[in-house]
């Protein structure tokens, strides 16, 4: 699933570790989500959405709609 996490993080000048700390997950998790190797659970997707103050669909693209 494609996402804008890397762009949003760069806009705020956060490293992967900074974002991981804010989300209370490992840096590995942030890296895996950014590179599309792992799709976060709905609760984690909501945490990401709340952190960036954006709706989920503004961060993650639907895998069926592209």
């Amino acid at each position: 699933m494609n996402n804008r996490l890397k762009v949003l993080r760069a806009e705020r000048d956060w490293s992967q570790s900074d974002l991981a700390e804010r989300l209370a997950v490992s840096r590995q998790s942030v890296n895996a989500i950014e590179t599309g190797k792992y799709d976060p659970s709905l609760p984690l997707a909501f945490r990401i959405s709340e952190l960036f103050e954006l709706p989920i669909e503004a961060i993650f693209s639907s895998p069926t709609k592209g």
Binding site: S26, Q28, S29, A32, Y38
Partner: protein, 141 residues
């Protein structure tokens, strides 16, 4: 880059160290007692089983780690790792058993039982995660 270590992972490492220490002590005690013909009857059975208990404890520690690990991605890696370990162990033991059934390899396991191959499988699982996801998760091996 710092290696991820959650409180659950730290707890697992401590549990593993304690269980391995108990294993070495009980194994040494059992080997010494049996070599010296110091035990017989029901006590011999109890002593023979004693070193197996900390090994069973390691299975418990791994399963507790799967429950206690808070990071969902690391937890997924650990689940994959243990599934690969289980598959690897069952595959090796099944092949070995059939080779024994047709007398192509000697009977007995020379001490290399299912647990040994499961632990080897954890290493294979970590490698599998590293190759497929680019991350091996934690130190569960």
């Amino acid at each position: 880059m710092t290696r991820y270590k959650s409180p659950a992972m730290r707890k697992y490492v401590i549990r593993l160290a304690v269980l391995m220490t108990i294993y070495l002590i009980t194994l040494f005690a059992a080997v010494t007692a049996f070599r010296g013909n110091m035990v017989s009857g029901p006590a011999a059975y109890a002593l023979a089983v004693l070193p197996a208990l900390p090994i069973i404890g390691v299975f418990w520690a791994v399963m507790r780690l799967l429950v206690e690990e808070p990071d969902e991605f690391v937890r997924m890696l650990l689940v994959r790792q243990t599934l690969v370990a289980t598959g690897f162990c069952l595959t090796v033991m099944t092949i070995w058993e059939f080779l024994q059934n047709f007398d192509l390899v000697p009977q007995g396991s020379n001490g290399f039982g299912a647990a040994f191959f499961w632990f080897i499988g954890l290493g294979v699982g970590a490698l599998y995660n590293r190759i497929t996801v680019g991350s091996s998760g934690g130190d569960c091996a």
